[in-house]
Structure formats: structure tokens, C-alpha cells
């Protein structure tokens, strides 16, 4: 797991909003490897560096939306997520969509924030489908255990999971990627 000093970044961002170019440069330089790691975990291909640059540009253009009293990491993670989704939609590229809450934690996000990323995706699905996927993929129940917990047959669980993951792929603009 990577460790980042988000409190320090928060201080630098506050200073940047007040026009401190030195600390702003320091912040961008510090955020860059985090972004690279964030995108490499999610995207196959060599476009990660392009995405990092696009995200840095967005950070710059949207810096007025940073709430100085709020932590920095959720803000930058949301920008990175939006840039990734936007990029994938436009390019129709293969992307690796993990339904694994630990992935966000590896990016230095707090567990609740990482879990929220997954919940954002799952909330796009019908409640029943999201529950089955949540039990099977997040809580790591077997197909049979999920079937018992939801009162469905094992084959129905398999179908629901398969269709749900397909739908999630569609929601992030995938034409064909892995999602497990």
C-alpha cells in the first residue's frame, strides 16, 4: 500500500489557492506519481501518462472547487475518476474495472472512500442485482452461499452476476474488458 501525506498536500493546496506558486509546483510534482499509480491500476495501455497530464490540467482549471476545510484526497480522487471515465467513454478503450474495495485503499484513499467508489458503480444497477454482486464479489461469498442468502438458485446468481458486470462495463464505456 502506498502512503501519502495527504495533510501536507492539503496545506500545499491551500497555499496554492492563495497564489503560492512554489508550493503549488511541489504539490503537482507530488500528486503526479500518485495519479500515475491510480491510472495504471485501472487502465491497460500506455495512455496513463496522457491521463495524468489531463488530470493535472483539470486540477488546475477546477482548483477553485477545492474546499479548503475538506481533505485533499477525496477531491483529487474524484477528479482522477472523472477523467478516467471521460477518457474511456471517448476512446472506448479496454479498462480494468475492479470490484475490489482494497484497490482504492492501495491508492492511499481511506477505506470508506474506496468503498464509495465501488458503491458509485453498484448504485447504477437495480437494487437486487447490486446486492447479489455485492455479496458475491465484495463479501466474497461463493455462488452457493450468495444463492442461499438471496433465496435464488445458483444458476440465477451466476446469470445476475454476469449480466450485472456486463452492464457495469457498459456504464464505464467498455467495449470489451475484464472486470473480475
Amino acid at each position: 500500500m502506498n502512503t501519502y501525506n495527504s495533510d501536507e498536500w492539503q496545506g500545499w493546496m491551500r497555499a496554492a489557492l492563495n497564489g503560492d506558486a512554489g508550493l503549488y509546483r511541489k504539490l503537482l510534482a507530488a500528486v503526479r506519481p500518485w495519479l500515475l499509480s491510480y491510472f495504471r491500476r485501472r487502465l491497460y495501455g500506455s495512455e496513463c501518462e496522457d491521463l495524468v497530464q489531463m488530470t493535472l490540467l483539470s486540477l488546475h482549471e477546477k482548483r477553485h472547487t477545492y474546499d479548503v476545510s475538506a481533505p485533499f484526497m477525496p477531491w483529487i480522487a474524484a477528479i482522477a475518476r472523472n477523467k478516467l471515465i471521460d477518457y474511456v467513454r471517448k476512446a472506448g478503450r479496454h479498462v480494468h474495472v475492479e470490484l475490489d474495495e482494497a484497490m482504492g485503499v492501495d491508492d492511499g484513499l481511506r477505506p470508506e472512500l474506496a468503498a464509495r467508489d465501488v458503491q458509485v458503480l453498484l448504485s447504477q444497477l437495480p437494487k437486487d442485482q447490486a446486492r447479489v454482486i455485492g455479496l458475491h464479489k465484495l463479501n466474497e461469498l461463493s455462488v452457493e452461499e450468495t444463492a442461499a442468502a438471496t433465496g435464488k438458485s445458483a444458476s440465477a446468481v451466476k446469470v445476475i452476476v454476469h449480466r450485472g458486470l456486463k452492464k457495469l462495463q457498459g456504464l464505464v464505456g467498455l467495449k470489451g474488458g475484464t472486470n473480475e
Binding site: A16, L17, N18, G19, D20, A21, G22, Y24, R25, L28, A29, R32, E49, V52, Q53, L56, L57, S58, H60, K62, R63, H64, T65, Y66, D67, V68, A70, P74, W75, A77, A78, I79, R81, N82, K83, I85, D86, R116
Partner: protein, 212 residues
């Protein structure tokens, strides 16, 4: 490549004013006062208010839309930043208002039947629609020009919808100072649909204009 970009971005960095929500609240307050002044000035107050008699519906109807508008603005304030999120506490009051009016309509249906309920739709429908839709869209344009376009939301359609619901509801609150059609069916089918039109238009616009 990134190093050059970082240098460019940091060079000549200017201080920026962080986005605050108080201008939205202030603008909405001013907009509401202007809308009320327009409604009272051009259409006049409803008879009870004009005569100084404050009946339940004369106060309750404007309050219903005012609370809906304020709740929607609250939701907007929570959505304008990238990490923003639509929380249940933001939309619970809106849902409660909807349930309240729908419940009243059901009671009315049970009491008066379909024919009795549809009597409540007579009068002022076009003026109500036009005022809320046009006033709501005008409010939306002003909100967009002065504040909302600086937003960076992760949920553009939802943010647009909440902004539309807010301005539409506030316009409905202003219009209800004039209108004395208080039947639940009127509130749902006339006010509700007019507000829904503004909400849907704003959701569409939000999806197009607030993209990353």
C-alpha cells in the same frame, strides 16, 4: 512532458477565490423576492392573503414549495464539487413533500371520486404553467451564468436536475402567493408538472454543459 506541464501550470499562478455556496443562497433569496414581487405586482395576491386572512393553504402551499426549493438547493450545494455526493438527507424533505401531496390526493379521491377531483383542475392552468416554466428557466439561466458554471461535479445530470427543481420550486412558491387553486390534484398535475418540466430541462442541460 509532465514536468514541463507542471512548470507551465505553476508559472504565474494567481490566487483564486474558492467556490462558496453562500452566493447561491443569496442569489436564490434575491431571485425569490423578485419573483414574488413580479407575481404580486402583475397578478395580485390571492384573496385570503390580500384580506389579511391566513388560511392553512394560503400559507401551507407557498411553504411546501419553498421547503422543496430549499432542500433542492441544499442538494445542489452538496453536489458542486468533484467529491460531492447526493445524500439522503438532501432529498428526504423533497420526498416527504411529494408523499404528503400524493397522500392528500388519494384522500381526496376516496372522498370525492374522480369527477370531484377533476373539478379541482379548473382555472388558471396555462398561466400557472407558463409562469413557473418561464420563471424557472429564467432563474436557471441566471444561476448558471453567475454561479453554477464554476461547478465541477461528478454527477452533472443530478446536479442539473436539483438546480432545476430548486428554481422551479421557488418560482412555484412565488406564484402560489397569487393562486388560490389548492386542490391536491392541481398541486400535483399543474404545479408539479411545471416544476418537473424545469427539472427535466435542467437535467438535460446539466448533462451536456457540466461534463468534464
Amino acid at each position: 512532458m509532465s514536468d514541463a506541464l507542471i512548470d507551465d501550470l505553476a508559472k504565474d499562478l494567481k490566487p483564486v477565490k474558492p467556490m462558496r455556496t453562500w452566493p447561491m443562497w443569496l442569489g436564490a433569496g434575491i431571485g425569490l423576492v423578485l419573483a414574488a414581487a413580479y407575481v404580486i405586482g402583475f397578478y395580485g395576491l390571492r384573496p385570503e392573503l390580500d384580506g389579511g386572512t391566513f388560511t392553512f393553504m394560503a400559507i401551507g402551499k407557498p411553504l411546501l414549495f419553498l421547503l422543496t426549493g430549499v432542500s433542492a438547493l441544499w442538494a445542489v450545494s452538496g453536489l458542486v464539487r468533484p467529491e460531492g455526493w447526493l445524500k439522503w438527507r438532501h432529498i428526504l424533505p423533497i420526498a416527504a413533500m411529494f408523499v404528503l401531496v400524493t397522500g392528500a390526493l388519494m384522500l381526496d379521491l376516496g372522498r370525492s371520486g374522480m369527477a370531484g377531483v377533476s373539478d379541482g383542475l379548473n382555472g388558471g392552468v396555462l398561466l400557472c404553467y407558463m409562469t413557473i416554466v418561464c420563471g424557472g428557466i429564467a432563474g436557471l439561466v441566471v444561476l448558471w451564468r453567475l454561479w453554477l458554471r464554476r461547478a465541477a461535479t461528478s454527477h452533472p445530470v443530478t446536479l442539473g436536475a436539483m438546480a432545476g427543481l430548486a428554481v422551479g420550486s421557488l418560482m412555484a412558491a412565488a406564484y402560489s402567493l397569487h393562486c388560490n387553486m389548492d386542490a391536491p390534484v392541481y398541486i400535483l398535475a399543474v404545479y408539479g408538472v411545471a416544476v418537473a418540466v424545469v427539472t427535466a430541462a435542467a437535467a438535460l442541460i446539466g448533462g451536456k454543459l457540466l461534463r468534464w
